[in-house]
């Protein structure tokens, strides 16, 4: 533990033990990723170490399988539609929330965030009860609507956070200089909150891309997304092709994480600059 003036031998030993313990926790955290990525390059067909050699055969399998490719295109399609719908609805709502009185904002905020708290299974069952008679089960539309419910809270949260930094006087200045509200929004407000909107969109995409429970209730065989395909794969018999799929998903996660981090830093720089 840092900050002590004198360290006895016991304290030094304790500090080492503490570091080793934390190191083990970090190993635990990254172990699944650290294991599944190398296994996807395995030349053999057993998911064990040591590997007999390296090869790209499981990636070949992945890209030759109509099932996996259909799942990829379903995931991207549903993810893109969800992102658009959630970002539009969430951003307008966040802009609206900022104009409301705090009490009202809190009540509506609780409703908007509720999908984060309610277990997805419950939302899934409810949505299934509603969509089944409307023929929205086994349909892309139903899946997109359900994913959007889960993605919206993230958009509202990130855009609200970026609005928090926004100085409303800028809008007043713009309109006093003759800008119409639409122009003032587009030229003054949008550039400031854009990183928040894009972060929200990335979160929305990631939420949809990772969502499985809704899919298990709503998707038919034609709407199978990547997580559903993986779920079925693990359930039946776990094949090395799954490790290739998993690795591709890890790469995508890293890309999303990096995007979010870059946007966060940009916003922070912006906020710092605005203060000085």
């Amino acid at each position: 533990m840092s900050g002590w003036t004198s360290a006895t031998r016991g304290e030094i030993a304790w500090r080492h033990a503490f570091r080793i313990y934390c190191g083990l926790v970090f190993v635990f955290l990254v172990l699944p990723i650290a294991v599944i990525v190398p296994l996807s390059f395995n030349a053999g067909s057993f998911l064990t170490f040591p590997m007999p050699g390296l090869s790209l055969r499981w990636y070949g399998d992945f890209f030759a399988s109509p099932k996996w490719l259909a799942a990829v295109s379903n995931s991207f399609g549903v993810g893109a539609a969800t992102t658009i719908l959630a970002t539009v609805l969430g951003t307008t709502a966040a802009l609206g929330l900022a104009r409301l009185k705090p009490r009202m904002r809190r009540v509506l905020g609780a409703v908007i965030l509720a999908p984060l708290i309610v277990p997805v299974v419950i939302t899934g069952v409810g949505v299934y009860f509603l969509y089944a008679p409307l023929h929205l089960t086994n349909s892309y539309l139903g899946l997109v609507l359900a994913h959007t419910v889960l993605a919206i809270p993230f958009v509202v949260l990130t855009v609200s956070a970026s609005l928090h930094h926004f100085d409303r006087n800028l809008l007043r200045a713009a309109s006093s200089l003759g800008a119409s509200p639409v122009v003032a929004f587009r030229r003054v407000m949008l550039p400031v909150i854009l990183p928040g909107v894009v972060s929200g969109a990335v979160f929305a995409f990631a939420t949809s891309f990772d969502e499985i429970v809704m899919g298990l209730f709503l998707a038919g065989p034609t709407q199978r997304t990547l997580p559903i395909q993986m779920f079925n794969g693990v359930r039946e018999e776990i094949s090395p092709t799954i490790t290739a799929a998993a690795t591709l998903l890890v790469v995508l996660s890293i890309a999303l994480l990096v995007t979010i981090e870059m946007l966060r830093r940009r916003t922070e720089r912006f906020a710092r600059k605005a203060r000085t």
């Binding site: 926790v25 939302t123 509202v156």
Partner: protein, 408 residues
Amino acid sequence: MSSTVALALKASLRRIERRQALIGGALVAPLLLFLAVNFLLPIAMMLFRSVDDPDVRAIMPRTTAALAAWDGRDLPSATVTAMMIEELEAARGGADLSRAANRLNYDINGFRSLLLKTARNLPSARDGDMLQALVAIDHRWGEIETWAAIKRAAGPLTSFYLLGAVDLKQSGGGEVQGIAPDRAIFLKVLGRTLWIGFWVTVLCLMLGYPVAYLLATASSKTANLLMILVLLPFWTSLLVRTTAWVVLLQKDGPVNSVLYAAGLIDEPLRLIFNRVGVYVAITHVLLPFMILPLYSVMKGIGPTAMRAAVSLGAHPFLAFARVYLPQTVPGITAGTLLVFISAIGYYVTPALIGGADDQMLSYFIAFYTNETTNWGMAAALGCILLVITALLYAVYDKLAGRAAVGLT
């Protein structure tokens, strides 16, 4: 003069404020409408399904009404029996009969075939002892429990599913009693769900607290680097992580090979399709949810108080327990509640990594929805999970406040 100006100013200010609120409302409205249709309505439908019971009433409106007055001690009167035979005859061959038979089968296994068989073989003569005629078709008509099941299904609303979700049922006379021990599973499942949630939370706290402390006290360069190790799994697909744990924990998987190579075990440990696997995988998934709130609280705690305590002669451990730990309580509260709430709703991870005895409430909700289409039971179990989650969230909201959520 000046007061009129002030009044006019005030009025115009109020007008502007009202306009702002109106614009705000108009901007929020589409989202609220969307959530009302696709989130609130579904949840309301689920809650309603747990008490809705229209099926048996649909085919025997008079019999169910007559059974409401039945005391459940002796077999029903000849009038009621004759009434049921009549209504059963009218319903013969229709889809409604099949639905009613399914509903009764949820209560007593085999009731579906009993009802359908009876409907096929109804006595042609309508005089004499109708009850005896029914018993001649199937002896179960001579049992009180058979008639009690019809009474329980009389509708239009029922407590059957909600009571069933906590292993209770109503007798023919209306008093609530426990169901047969061999059919009582849901209290066990509920207890298991909370138990798994509890242990996952404890594990996350034990693993997460020191790591959060390390992150909060390390130099910002180290902390940033280590933070990636927390955020990477956080961002990795749940299915990827679950799949990876299936691979890691299997019989001849890497964990077992390492333990074997190190000479720690002689034969592979059983790590998957049991509770061990469930604890490991869920803890892994939820650990960042513990670390992040703890970290954000610890980041705001300066080292001064601890230093003061140590310099005043407190043993470092004592200083930690008395000075540092109490300051992190908000983070502990937020983290544990967040992890517990998430853990008890888990479905996919236990479904893939657990055995039959490790499935939680969510599994049964999905099972009754997708496999047996006993929607009433699915809804009742959903109600229980929803109530527990809502209560815990209310506690979270009270203790951790909305600051943690960021929408103030």
